[in-house]
């Protein structure tokens, strides 16, 4: 089969990565494409992930412009290459634009991470509806798909993010001091309360690593967030380094639903500035929803970690999950 995979965000690429590796191990012809925000591209090649053969940097300002850019970019590629399947993940602008292009050209769509969307996430629901092949991370997601009459094309292939996150090797050096991490890539960057995040980090008393892509760094500058002794804004980390940092951090504060799940796999408390897309993670206590407010953040950051460890046996795949996808395909 000729399969084209399109990733938008960092998380989508991480989740697709083990699937792509499994597909390449078979007899399939796989092409990877990535459509990401401007400035993200330089980090792609440093990641230990399949290299994107096709890439689009998106600089447009609004969702419609970004979706339109992906659509215009991908439609001729699909016309020219005529893949048997277009594989997307998540519900980013790249995923939506790709799905529209596939629909226009008549290429069947497969959606990885299907059924995980909360009812409020209309976009993910539309992408599920558009797909002939739904790859769900767990049984609860399949039940959600069944409520929408889509169980016939759903397959539980497990959480491929677990494959990606837990196979990155041990960190080279253990940290001498406790530290925390803050990674912002979504709605928190647009929040007028953005400075409160940094004030709270400054008050934790521990070192804070803030990996920031070009866009995030520009938002920090626009919000006039000044330097603090214990906060280091650094260039984005490659995937392995990011996972190792997450595994060693005292806590991670983020608006990325993907990173919240990665924190859970590494038994690191995540302060969730947006919904984790999974109430199970929130119930576990490892993912703590928190308002963008200095005192709320501080209280959540300093609370002890849950006693019950994460249920890794439910999610852990080490390649098995991705292999299930390939078998299902």
């Amino acid at each position: 089969m000729k399969i084209l995979c399109v990733a938008g965000s960092r998380g989508e690429r991480a989740k697709l990565s083990p699937v792509i590796a499994s597909l390449e191990g078979g007899e399939h012809e796989v092409t990877c494409a990535q459509a990401s925000r401007q400035g993200a591209v330089p980090t792609w090649d440093r990641d230990a992930m399949p290299v994107a053969g096709l890439g689009l940097e998106i600089s447009e300002a609004t969702p419609a412009l970004r979706i339109g850019a992906v659509l215009r970019w991908l439609e001729p590629l699909l016309q020219e290459n005529r893949p048997d399947l277009l594989l997307i993940c998540g519900a980013s602008d790249a995923a939506v634009g790709s799905a529209l292009a596939a629909s226009l050209v008549g290429v069947p769509l497969a959606h990885l991470d299907a059924g995980i969307a909360a009812s409020s996430s209309t976009r993910a629901g539309v992408l599920d509806q558009a797909s002939v092949f739904l790859l769900a991370p767990h049984q609860a997601a399949v039940q959600r798909l069944a409520q929408r009459g889509m169980e016939d094309s759903a397959l539980v292939c497990g959480d491929t993010l677990a494959d990606a996150a837990l196979d990155q090797g041990a960190p080279p050096v253990a940290p001498s001091e406790p530290f925390c991490m803050c990674y912002l890539a979504g709605p928190a960057l647009e929040s007028p309360a953005l400075p409160a995040i940094f004030k709270a980090l400054a008050r934790t008393g521990m070192g804070a690593l803030v990996p920031a892509a070009q866009y995030a760094a520009s938002r920090f500058e626009a919000a006039r967030i000044g330097p603090a002794d214990n906060i280091r804004v650094i260039d984005p980390l490659d995937y392995a380094a990011m996972q190792q940092a997450v595994a060693q951090a005292h806590f991670v504060m983020t608006d990325s639903a993907t990173l919240q799940r990665e924190c859970y796999f590494h038994a690191t408390v995540a302060l969730a500035l947006t919904s984790a897309d999974s109430s199970e993670l929130e119930r576990s206590g490892w993912v703590r929803p928190v308002a963008i407010d200095e005192e709320s953040i501080l209280a959540a950051a300093l609370a002890p970690a849950p006693e019950q460890p994460p249920q890794l046996d439910v999610h852990r795949g080490a390649g098995e999950r991705a292999a299930r996808f390939v078998t299902g395909l």
Binding site: I67, P76, S103, T122, Q129, R148, S153
Partner: protein, 371 residues
């Protein structure tokens, strides 16, 4: 309740036919301040066309359609325009009229924004696996409020997870348009003008890409029409895409040399309705035509293996013949020989869809106000 600002978006002929009675209803009610948003190609030509005049469609309050570029480029421009509509004009509700890719783009862009996103003719699914992933199904998934044209469509929406307070059975808007224009259509006597006897011809409207864009299928369609015209005159509406394909594949001669096959140029809505109403049989592959024929009591033969207009088939007014010439001819012979008894109309097919849609919008607004 304050006045509700409603943006009605339509992009092509079938959408304009549905938008017209809805705009008229919303304009007539003091609770609404409607805007008509044109998302199709070549607004100037449409606005000055017979179709718009016949339907009484107002000038567009905003044009977001694009005429140039590839399909993807045009769709991209429409989405940007729709986003601008939602964010700058801040309507309370956006009504998506139709189930094309343009409408899907609008729905996706506006989903999650403040306006209540509403899809009319919701729940249309052809039986089988392709129905679930159809463009109409995707638009439904993006919308907050789903207005179903038939009981079958409504039940399908509820089975697919729609809640009863987000879905409503309203009936099809094409019935409203047809009911409104029927007297004028009957006065026009378009059939007589074209040399066709009342209830003595078959009207053929063939436009679906699966028939028009595939040589083998288009050949079968023309063979089928050639066989049918041996039983009664056939008036074939020559839409531009069909004309192009017939010319490209050197099939035009079939359409012009058969003794009882007449080519009819596409016209305004009144003329079209007049031709449809006077026909003895309709042969088509278009969903809206199946609805209109059923409403008018004209028996319909559909050139497809399945249809999303399930209500027309279950009512007995529409027979799926696919491209099976023998089956189609058998039906033609029976319909020419025997008197046709108009089967009962599906529930809510009474020309009151626009009124029910307006009522549903008011109910939702009231609920939001209470919340």
């Amino acid at each position: 309740m304050s006045v509700m600002r409603v943006a009605v978006i339509a992009a092509e002929r079938a959408g304009f036919v549905r938008a017209a009675p809805l705009m008229a209803e919303l304009t007539a009610r003091p609770e609404f301040q409607p805007q008509f948003i044109f998302a199709g190609e070549d607004y100037v030509a449409h606005a000055s066309s017979e179709l718009f005049r016949d339907l009484g469609l107002p000038y567009a309050d905003m044009v977001i359609g694009a005429s140039e570029g590839t399909v993807a480029q045009r769709l991209g421009k429409v989405m940007v325009g729709c986003e601008r509509l939602a964010t700058t004009r801040e309507p309370d509700a956006i009504i998506i009229v139709g189930s094309s890719h343009v409408m899907l783009g609008c729905a996706v862009v506006c989903s999650g924004l403040n306006p209540t996103l509403t899809h009319v003719d919701a729940g249309l699914r052809a039986p089988g696996p392709t129905g679930r992933t159809s463009v109409a199904a995707q638009i439904d998934r993006a919308c907050d409020l789903l207005m179903a044209a038939s009981e079958q469509a409504y039940d399908g929406l509820v089975d697919g997870g729609a809640l009863e307070d987000t879905a409503a059975l309203t009936g099809p808007l094409v019935c409203d348009a047809a009911a409104h224009c029927l007297d004028a259509a009957r006065s026009e006597g378009a059939a007589a003008g074209a040399g066709l006897g009342h209830k003595r011809y078959a009207l053929a409207i063939v436009e679906a890409p699966e028939n028009v864009e595939h040589l083998a299928n288009l050949r079968k369609v023309m063979d089928l029409l050639a066989a049918a015209q041996e039983h009664l005159p056939v008036a074939l509406v020559m839409y531009p895409r069909l004309a192009r394909r017939l010319a490209n594949w050197e099939l035009s001669e079939t359409a012009t040399t058969l003794p009882q096959l007449r080519v009819v140029e596409p016209a305004g809505y009144i003329t079209y309705l007049s031709l449809l109403d006077s026909a003895r049989i309709v042969i088509t592959d278009i969903g809206g035509v199946q609805d209109e024929a059923t409403f008018l009591g004209v028996p319909c033969l559909t050139l497809a293996e399945s249809t999303d207009r399930v209500a027309t088939v279950e009512s007995g007014g529409n027979l799926l013949v696919g491209l099976d010439i023998a089956l189609a001819l058998q039906a033609v012979e029976a319909l020419v020989t025997n008197e046709y008894a108009h089967p009962p109309l599906p529930r809510a097919w009474d020309g009151g869809a626009s009124e029910r849609i307006a009522d549903a919008l008011i109910r939702v607004a009231a609920r939001r106000g209470e919340a």
